[in-house]
Every structure is written in C-alpha cells, then in structure tokens.
C-alpha cells in the first residue's frame, strides 16, 4: 500500500458529453492542475457543488480514466442508475468535482505480450492501456466484449478498429459469445500478460484460461464510498501469508495480480453480492 495519497481534489469543466453507441456516454473534461494518470487508475466524480443544493445522491461515482493529457480528462460511462443518469445530463461548461487519480495502474511491459480483455464498462481503462502500450511500441492484442452490436461505442473505437477483436454475446458483431469462449478456442496461444477488466463472472472465468508463462492482472469493481481506503467498503480477499485479509479495491487495487487474490472459498464471480468469503462472526461497521 502506498504511504500517502497522490490524489487531488479538483474541479473539472465539461467540454462535451455525448452518447456513443446505444449505452455509453463519452465525457470530456478540462481540469485545473491535472496529475498525470496511468491506465487502470480512476476518479471519483460528481456534479460540482451539488452539496449546497442536494445531498442525494450523496456520494461520488467511480469512473476509470479513458484519456488523460495535461489538462484534459476523458471518461466513458454507461447509464445504470441515478448517479450516471445525472452525469449523462451534463452540458458543456457544467462543473464537476473530481477526486483522483486513484488506485494503482496496469503494468506496462512487453514481456509476456499483453492481451487486453475488456467487457462492458471494463473497456475504458483498456483503451487507455492500449494507447499507452502503442505509444511505448509494445505489441499487444485487444479483445472487447459487448452485449450487442448497437452497444459498441463506435466513435470511441475509431482508429482502433483494426486492432480490436470484438465479441458480442448475441453475435451481431464479431465473435458470437463471450471473450472467454473466444480465447479458450486458441489451443496454441503464446504466454501472455492477460490484463482484464469487466464483469466478475468474466474475470473469474478468465483465470481458468491460464497457461504456463501467463501473467494475469485483473481490475476489480465494487461499490465505493471514500475511494481512498478509509471506509473499508470496497473489500476483496487477498492472500496474507498462510491466511487472507481484505484489501481495499480503491487503494490497493483496482488492478490486482491474479495470484495475490485469495480465491480459496470463492465461487465464480469475483466480487458482487454473495461472492466473497462469508466468514462468520463479524459485526457490522
């Protein structure tokens, strides 16, 4: 765990907020004193100053960084509830409160060759990662999965089309099925650094594909409150010598080497309701 936070609390201003495909919104912001961010890191985001007008929704929402340059930040998000619905309504010039960049990034390394696997809202950090890998001249593969062709954020993927191998669950574009089935078919795949972000079920299944020489990094999700490790809300079991402990996804993750995770008693989904070790006698709080 890092000794102290490098994150900053800052304001952003909307440059544009546009639908991209049937499900996603591209959000581009200008920010004051941007801290350089790396793929896999995220921000907590909320409409600016709303505390003076409304305490509902109460908390910020975590969004992975899609692009980060000197004074620009980009996110890609899906509307799933009240917080993201409010973000989708943002107009040019609207203000945002931002806390970040938070968390630890994906490894950037040529060996073994990176194989990026993203599903749904897990795609944005991997687009960022792919761009950084390309900028560093590192050859890599990119496999993205969506529910159906219409969901694909086409505007965003412009320029990446040739690189991205697409799966759709309904077969309307690319491989018909999920990325795990897609990759499972590759009997003689070379050892890879599998770098994945997406639904818990997908991540859990990816681990089953491991071959000798593979390295796996998984980016996890969980409901968050503080984003900085103090509320202990976003827990995931990790190995701790012969025992295990809960690590926080926001501070020690969201990217974890697969072999750090404590899978002992875990069912298929990595995180989410009913997934983690239900180990006995703890009280609330």
């Amino acid at each position: 765990m890092r000794a102290s936070l490098t994150a900053n609390y800052r304001r952003g201003r909307v440059i544009s907020c546009q639908p991209d495909g049937d499900l996603y919104f591209d959000l581009e912001l200008s920010v004051e004193q941007e801290t350089p961010a790396q793929p896999g890191q995220f921000y907590l985001v909320a409409a600016e100053e709303s505390l003076d007008e409304s305490l509902d929704p109460l908390l910020k929402r975590p969004l992975s960084i899609l692009t980060s340059t000197n004074d620009r930040l980009g996110f890609l998000f899906k509307v799933v509830g009240r917080g993201t619905r409010a973000l989708a309504r943002l107009d040019e010039g609207d203000g945002l409160d931002l806390l970040g960049p938070l968390g630890n990034p994906f490894t950037i390394d040529a060996e073994p060759q990176p194989l990026l696997v993203g599903g749904g809202v897990g795609v944005p950090p991997l687009i960022f990662l792919s761009q950084q890998l390309s900028a560093a001249g590192i050859a890599h593969r990119v496999v993205f999965a969506f529910g159906t062709a219409g969901d694909i954020p086409k505007w965003l993927l412009q320029g990446m089309e040739n690189k991205v191998e697409i799966c759709t669950l309904d077969g309307t574009c690319g491989f018909h099925g999920n990325p795990v089935d897609y990759l499972a078919a590759e009997q003689d795949r070379a050892p890879a650094r599998i770098q994945a972000c997406g639904p818990g079920g997908m991540l859990a299944a990816l681990r089953g594909l491991r071959k000798p020489g593979d390295e796996i990094e998984l980016s996890l999700e969980e409901h968050m409150a503080c984003g900085v490790g103090i509320c202990r809300g976003c827990a995931v079991p990790v190995k701790d010598g012969d025992d295990w402990r809960y690590a926080t996804i926001c501070r020690e993750g969201p990217v974890f080497p697969d072999d750090v995770l404590h899978h002992g008693e875990l069912e298929a989904p990595l995180t989410g309701p009913g997934s983690a070790c239900r180990c006995g006698e703890e009280n609330n709080e």
């Binding site: 305490l55 109460l58 969980e222 900085v228 809300g233 976003c234 703890e282």
Partner: protein
C-alpha cells in the same frame, strides 16, 4: 486555547476537561487510524481525531458488498474490520504521536473485562480520550447489544473508568433504543465523562435482482444526512437529561449543521459519511463556521449563545 490567527474567531471548545482546538472531530470508522487519508485530509484539521474502533484481536470484517447508498444516506456493513489492539498500539498511536496528535481511541470488546483490559493497555499511551463503542447495531446475537441495556452500560463504563485514568472516557450511544436518555443516564451513572450520539440506525436495502438484502448480515447501519434529524433530537434530549457533555454525530454536512448540533446542546461534533463525498469539506466547514461567528459578532464558540439571544 488561544486564537489561531488574529481577527479570526476562537473555535476551541471544551468537552468536559478535554480541550479541542475546534468542535469538529472525525467520526470513528470514517477516517481510518488518522493518517490513512494524508495529505488529502490531514488529521490536524480536526479538533479531535477519533480512530476506527479497535477490538482486542484483529477482525477481518464482513464480506462484500459492505456499502449501499440510500436517499441522502449510506448503509454500511463493514463488520468492525480492524487491526486489533496490539498493532494499533505499536504502529498507529506512534505514527500519530510523531505528528503531535493524541487520538481519541474508539474501543470495543465482548465483555466488561475485555473493555477494561483494553483500557488499561491504552492507559500508558499518548491518547486524548477513550470512546466506548457499545452501540454496533445488529450484532450476531439478534439485535441485542450492550448499548441497549442500561445495566451493561453502567458495568462496562465503571470497569473502564477503573482501568483508565489518562483522560476522559466517552460513551457512544446507539439510536436504536426506546429511550436514549436512559442509556445516557446509565453511562453517566457508570462514570462516563461524555456521551456521543448517535451511531448508525438499523437499516436495510433490497437488491431487486435477487429480492434479498445485498448484505450478508441482512441489516446494516444507516448514516449520512438522512439521519441528522434523529441525531439532533437525541442530542437535544440527552443534553437536557444528563449533566455530562454530549458530542453530536449524525449526518453533518455543513457549518450550519454543526451550529444546529451546538444549539441543540452538543459541546463538540463528529463528521463521518460526508467526508467520503468530499474530503476537503471539514476544512471548508471550519472556515464557514468562523465566518458565521464573525458575521454575528461572536469572538468564540463560547459566545455562540449571544447570537441566539
């Protein structure tokens, strides 16, 4: 305490014998062990740093999910995840001491003796006060907990007072009782130096994909602005029924909220959930508090009463 800057109102308060540089303390469980959020939110901002509840042994805490947001509120089921007393004494207290901070240490144990043992271990340490967390809602033994039982409260507080002489002992109360003033009276009878109100309300959510609570322990603790009216009523009623000071907790999100608690009878307050929304808020609250006092011609918090006369 002396004024920080000339011309600025004096924000210091006293909770019984304990002097605080300002009335805003961190609430237990919402600020780790005091340095976990540094330098984004340095502990020096707070008038008092209340640390995450520690138990005699380390605790892993509850499975995820541990959080759900509700309307203006937050449900949590962290499960008292903590490092245990020894690492707390060996690592956390010295780290704070190196910064010149004596924490207000929140402790919890399974029985009066457990509390007393923790208290005597802490009696030799640089701590400002103890806060007894008797009030975790929804413990495994079906809703029953110390903080709902006046007899248990007297016994635990008396045991801790016998073991701890280094500073005051605060008792944190649960709102999940028929009459919170009776529990406050029990704390006072046991020798408590102050009571803190309130801990979280017993609450629940349902995940509509499963039709069940998302929480492994079904119910969870409700905090945040949603509960502030309940907390204000508790502070008001307690402060009019016991002689010892009251520390107000529950849903504070602004300088106005702090002032409401002080008006209701609190000597100091704690902020929890809202810090998750915006870690820069405590500093802003103190600025606004100072501005509010200045506007009304009050030089210090102790002159607040004059603003309302």
């Amino acid at each position: 305490m002396s004024r920080i800057r000339a011309g600025q109102p004096d924000l210091s308060v006293e909770v019984g014998s304990l002097q605080l540089t300002n009335p805003l303390c961190s609430a237990s469980g919402c600020f780790g062990y005091g340095l976990d959020c540094d330098p984004l939110l340095p502990p020096e901002v707070f008038g008092g740093v209340v640390t995450k509840t520690v138990t005699p042994q380390p605790r892993k805490g509850n499975p995820v999910p541990r959080l759900r947001e509700t309307s203006s509120g937050l449900l949590n089921s962290i499960g008292l995840e903590n490092c245990g007393l020894s690492p707390f004494i060996l690592e956390k207290i010295p780290a704070l001491a190196a910064r010149g901070i004596k924490p207000i240490v929140s402790i919890s144990a399974g029985d009066p003796q457990g509390f007393a043992d923790m208290a005597s271990a802490l009696n030799r340490e640089p701590v400002a006060a103890l806060e007894l967390n008797l009030s975790c809602p929804n413990v495994a033994s079906a809703g029953a907990n110390f903080a709902t039982d006046p007899g248990a409260v007297v016994e635990i507080v008396a045991a801790v007072k016998g073991a701890f002489t280094a500073g005051p002992v605060w008792v944190k109360l649960t709102p999940n009782v028929t009459d919170i003033t009776a529990i406050a009276a029990a704390a006072a009878a046991g020798g408590a130096d102050a009571v803190c109100a309130i801990n979280t309300l017993l609450g629940m959510d349902i995940d509509l994909t499963t039709g069940r609570s998302p929480f492994a322990r079904t119910t969870a603790g409700l905090s945040g602005p949603a509960i502030m009216p309940v907390a204000l009523a508790a502070v008001y009623r307690i402060s009019r029924s016991v002689e010892i000071p009251v520390v107000g907790i529950g849903g504070i999100a602004s300088a106005e909220d702090v002032l409401k608690f002080l008006a209701a009878g609190a000597s100091a307050v704690q902020v929890g959930t809202i810090v998750f929304r915006d870690p820069t808020l405590p500093a802003r609250i103190l600025d606004e508090l100072a501005a509010w006092l200045t506007e009304r011609g009050c030089d210090s918090i102790s002159e607040l009463e004059t603003a309302w006369r």
